[in-house]
Symmetry: C2
Amino acid sequence: MIVALAGGVGGAKLSDGLYRTLLPTQQGGGETGLAHGRELAVVVNVADDFTLYGLRISPDVDTVLYTLAGIANPATGWGIGGDTFATLEMLRRYGEDTWFLLGDRDFATHLLRSERLRQGWTPTAVTHALAEALGVRAALLPMCDEPVATVVLTPDGELAFQEYFVRRRQADEVRGVRFEGISEARVTPEVRQAIAEAEAIIFCPSNPIVSIGPILAVPGMREALAASRAPKIAVSPIVGGRALKGPADRMLVGLGHEASPVAVAALYRGLLDGMVIDQQDASLAGLVEGLGMRVLVTDTIMEDDAGRARLARAVLAFAGTSRS
Amino acid sequence: MIVALAGGVGGAKLSDGLYRTLLPTQQGGGETGLAHGRELAVVVNVADDFTLYGLRISPDVDTVLYTLAGIANPATGWGIGGDTFATLEMLRRYGEDTWFLLGDRDFATHLLRSERLRQGWTPTAVTHALAEALGVRAALLPMCDEPVATVVLTPDGELAFQEYFVRRRQADEVRGVRFEGISEARVTPEVRQAIAEAEAIIFCPSNPIVSIGPILAVPGMREALAASRAPKIAVSPIVGGRALKGPADRMLVGLGHEASPVAVAALYRGLLDGMVIDQQDASLAGLVEGLGMRVLVTDTIMEDDAGRARLARAVLAFAGTSRS
């Protein structure tokens, strides 16, 4: 079992690389547990989740789900490829401010999730059923089943995460971040089991503040990770001083860090055995090693499926697992 | 003010004819009340309403709404013309039994309705807002704001209305009908005002049992209609022994009536001043007159917009209003 911690698009891409790399070794059967019989478990951030039109939307879970199912929109990394927007157009005709882009096929996911949550299913059980239906043979595990909401402190006051991220296009300076509800969150049995069985734990190149950050902030998560003997490897989402996608670079700076793999490594310090940094940042390897971890310098840019698989193999080899 | 009582497609067609006929006389302004300043109020059956994927669906209201907004699917009479079915296809991919056809644009209506009902809006207020947004300048009034559910008794037991109507394609013999929740329903202030102001009240050619039936069964509705001095005219949905659309003919027979305009007139007896029957049923005029009402024999088939307008004008003239 390989465990990946992931947020949105970057996390989904490396998870997909790991999935395709591990897939050929999968055996049939063993379908009784959520993670049982699976070679890959992806623990996904759910602190971006929010409610729109009465629907519960779980953007990071859906990005990983669609990516592993092979139906993600290749142009954006999120949403479903070839999706249409008739529902949203009609909502606009009804006078709604349709600031969050939801495709018609995407709506099906939110409708089913919302209905099942209302029926008392846990987010873990809902995600499992959606992934099963789309033929995903990895365990997709929400970081927790309790509602957690990232709140971003900006000069204009506090903003709900999607308000900051989508509606205001990450234009606000971020002076603080908090995860509402996190103290009530718990590591799920499924996540705990996956971590316990892990041969390697990969921190995907997701935003360390608002994607991996909430996962690590779930009470008991750091302890569960620390208790695992598996090598823990992070891939830097910062390359050449910039985030490959999203506002991680500006967010790091706004919170008093550098926009560099060294700052990311420092945030994960004490948890990691190794850090993977891009070849553009080769000169920073010594600084990262100074934080007490091994460093792999490689090409971390995942331009295509081959790039995802190449990085996945490199990370697994660096972790020293028998899977590489 | 002309008041129409309507169910689904047949009711929507005559309502549309009335709307187009009355529209040129409309004045601007007067937008403060739901019915105020409007020349037409359509009181619509909501006993077919049901919940699917957590969404509140109001089929008859939507059929009238889409028809008056000029966006109804001309092929079916219900749904939105040119609508697509991507959400439903994705729901099917997730393993759902998608027995109720919902278009992508149609979903927008259900999403907004459901969200606003959850926020505490009444069905009357929701319907008003949807109609306003689509530029409908008639008052669309749900028969009541309380939930009412038609239940059909068949040899296989009781069926929820949409189960009988859509899922089982009206194949079951109907031995009885009841309207769950009807004793808690109340005539809304908007419906009461429309009836009080009516110059004519038109019972559209909708199913007398499960479309007009629930409207008349709302406690206080028959009394409100009886208190109005306006001529009350029904248009028979049965022509030549058959329902023009839907199961009204078989339903009448199953419940011990004839499938004829005479049986429809008998169901409305005491409420009506006049009955409009099709020229195919001219020989039945005397029998209907024997029930104590005037009869107009005319072409009641609404093949196209011109047919709707022709029937609307004939009905208004028969009612003797100044509108005709």
